[in-house]
Symmetry: C2
Subunit: 314 residues, 2 copies
C-alpha cells in the first residue's frame, strides 16, 4: 500500500512503555501519517526550567537518543551540573543530565519568548531528526496532582522525589477542565483511521490526556478503530507505579482492570499471551481482543507490536 493509502494513525503516549510503541509505529508508518499525542500532566517548573518529562521521553525515543537502561533521559549522559548543584546544596532529587539540559533550556527560552509548547515540541523534534509529529495534548497547563496519605503532592514530587511510595487516594488533573486541545490535536484525532493507546500508565499518562474534555469527546465520537495495548502484563506493570496505583484506587490489577477503565473510549484491546485467559472477560466488555507478545525489549519488538496493532486496525 502506498503512503496515500496508509491509514492515518494517532497514538496517545505517556512515558517509557508508551514511547517504545510510538517508536515501533514510527518504524512502519509514513511520518506524515503518524501523530503522537503526549501527556503534559507531569510537566513542571524546576530551577526555572520548563520540564516536560513525558514529551521528552517520547522525543528522545523517537530520535533514537533515549537512554536504553532507564528509558528516560539521553544515552551516554553525564551529570556534572548535578554534581555542582549538589556542592551548592541545591535540589538534586530531580536528575538533570548535562545533555538533557539543552532541551530544557531551549524549551524554556522559546516558551518565554511566547512560542507555544506545540511549536516548541515540533521544533525540538525537527532539530533531532524526528519525522513524525509529536504534540502535547494541550498548550494550556494541566497538572497531575496526587492526593496521598501524606497530603497533596505535585506529580514529580510524588513520582520522582517520593519514588511513588505514598499511598494514593485520588488523582486530580488540575486545569484539565479548562484546557483546550490544540487545533493540531483536534485535526489529528479527527483524521485518524486508527487511534492507538500506547501501553502507558492508564491513570497518570493516558487519563490526563483524556481529562481534556474535548479530547475525550472527540475520541469517544470517533469512528476510528481505537486500540489500547495493556501496560499491565501478568498482573504487573513492566515499569513504574501503574500496578501499585491501580491497587490503591481499588481497581483490579490486571489487563482486565485496564480494559474496564478505558472501555468507553476503545473498540479493541491488545493483551499479552500470558494474559490469554482474560480474553473472554475483556471481550464481554464489548471489546475486540488481540492476544500477542507485548513486551518490547528490542527495536524489532517495537515494530512487530506496532504491526500487530495496525493489523487489528485493519
Amino acid at each position: 500500500m502506498n503512503n496515500t493509502d496508509f491509514p492515518s494513525i494517532a497514538a496517545l503516549a505517556g512515558g517509557v512503555g508508551g514511547a517504545k510503541l510510538a517508536h515501533g509505529l514510527a518504524q512502519i508508518v509514513p511520518p506524515e501519517k503518524l501523530t503522537i499525542i503526549g501527556n503534559t500532566g507531569d510537566d513542571f517548573e524546576h530551577l526555572s526550567l520548563h520540564i516536560s518529562p513525558d514529551l521528552d521521553t517520547v522525543m528522545y525515543t523517537l530520535a533514537g537518543l533515549a537512554n536504553p537502561r532507564t528509558g528516560w533521559g539521553v544515552r551516554d549522559e553525564s551529570w556534572h551540573m548535578m554534581a555542582a548543584l549538589a556542592r551548592y546544596g541545591g535540589p538534586t532529587w530531580f536528575q538533570l543530565g548535562d545533555r538533557d539540559l539543552a532541551t530544557h533550556l531551549l524549551r524554556t527560552q522559546w516558551l518565554n519568548e511566547g512560542y507555544s509548547l506545540t511549536w516548541v515540541t515540533g521544533e525540538l523534534c525537527r532539530r533531532l531528526g524526528v519525522r513524525c509529529t509529536l504534540l502535547p495534548m494541550s498548550d494550556d497547563p494541566v497538572r497531575t496532582v496526587v492526593q496521598t496519605d501524606e497530603g497533596s503532592l505535585a506529580f514529580q514530587e510524588y513520582f520522582v522525589h517520593r519514588q511513588w511510595q505514598p499511598v494514593v487516594k485520588r488523582i486530580d488533573f488540575v486545569g484539565a477542565e479548562e484546557a483546550r486541545p490544540t487545533r493540531q490535536v483536534v485535526a489529528a484525532l479527527r483524521a485518524a483511521d486508527v487511534i492507538v493507546f500506547c501501553p502507558s500508565n492508564p491513570l497518570v499518562s493516558i487519563d490526563p490526556i483524556l481529562a481534556v474534555p474535548s479530547v475525550r469527546r472527540i475520541i469517544a465520537a470517533s469512528r476510528a478503530r481505537k486500540i489500547a495495548v495493556s501496560p499491565i502484563v501478568g498482573g504487573q506493570a513492566l515499569k513504574g507505579p501503574a500496578a501499585k496505583l491501580m491497587a490503591e484506587l481499588g481497581m483490579e490489577v490486571s489487563a482486565l482492570g485496564v480494559a474496564r477503565h478505558l472501555q468507553d473510549v476503545l473498540t479493541d484491546f491488545v493483551i499479552d499471551t500470558v494474559d490469554a485467559a482474560l480474553e473472554p472477560d475483556i471481550a464481554a466488555l464489548g471489546l475486540q481482543v488481540r492476544v500477542t507478545g507485548t513486551v518490547m525489549t528490542s527495536d524489532e519488538d517495537r515494530a512487530n507490536l506496532a504491526r500487530e496493532v495496525l493489523e487489528v486496525g485493519g
Copy 2:
C-alpha cells in the same frame, strides 16, 4: 595587629585581573573586614538564565574554583550541554560549562523567587566557602551597551560574540542613573578605611560601578585611602580589550591614561616597575604613586600585591 584593628577594606573588581587581586586581599584581610563590590554591567539574560559574568569570575576565584587557564568559568569544566545545544542548532556563542550551569540555574531560580541579587550572590558565595563579602554594585539593572561602528551592541554581544572586534565610539551604562546602590554597598564604602580599585578594565568594569551616582558620590567624598592598581602595564592590557578600548576612545594607552581617567576618585596609584618612568606624570595629577611588581601569576603574587596595596593604605 588583631582583627579589630585591621582596617576595613572595600575593593571594586570586575573581571579576571580584578578577581586576582581580590583573591590576594582575601588571603591577608580578615573576612569580616573585606568587601568586594562587583560589576553587574555585563550581566545578561541568555537561554532564560540570569548570568553575572563578573560576579562569577570573582566568586569562583575567591572560592579557588576558577579555571586557571581562562580566568573565567570553573576548573575541570566539561561542555556536554553545549554539545547538545549545538546539535539543536541553539546559540553557542556564549560558553556555558556544565558545572557553571549550576550557578546560573540557582541564581535564576532564586531571583525568580524574589530574592535580591545581593542575597543570591551572598548565598552562592557562602555555599562555596567564600568567607569575605561579595556584593553586586546594585540590585537594580545596569547594562553596559557599546556604541560601535557596527551599531549598538549589548556588552556580551560585543565582548564574547564579536570578540571585541568592532570599533567602539562610546560606552553607555543603561539604567545606571536610576540605579541605587544597596545598603550593603553604602555601608561597606562608608566603613572602608581603604578603597581598592582592582586592576580591572577601567572603562567596562570600574566605570559601570562608578556610574551608579551614589557610589561615585560616596567614594569621592570618602576620606579613605583610595588606591588603584593599573590594569595597563607597559602600554598593554594583560587581558581583554582595555588597551584597544582606550585607544578607540582617544585615551593615552598607559598607566597614566588610567590614572587620568580615575584621578577624581583616587588618592593613590600603583604602577608596575616597567612603568616607573610614568611616576612623575602620575604624581603631577596629585596622586601618591607606588611602583612595584603588579603581574600576578601565582597565588603568592596575588597576596604580595595585596600586601603592597595595604601598605600604601597605611
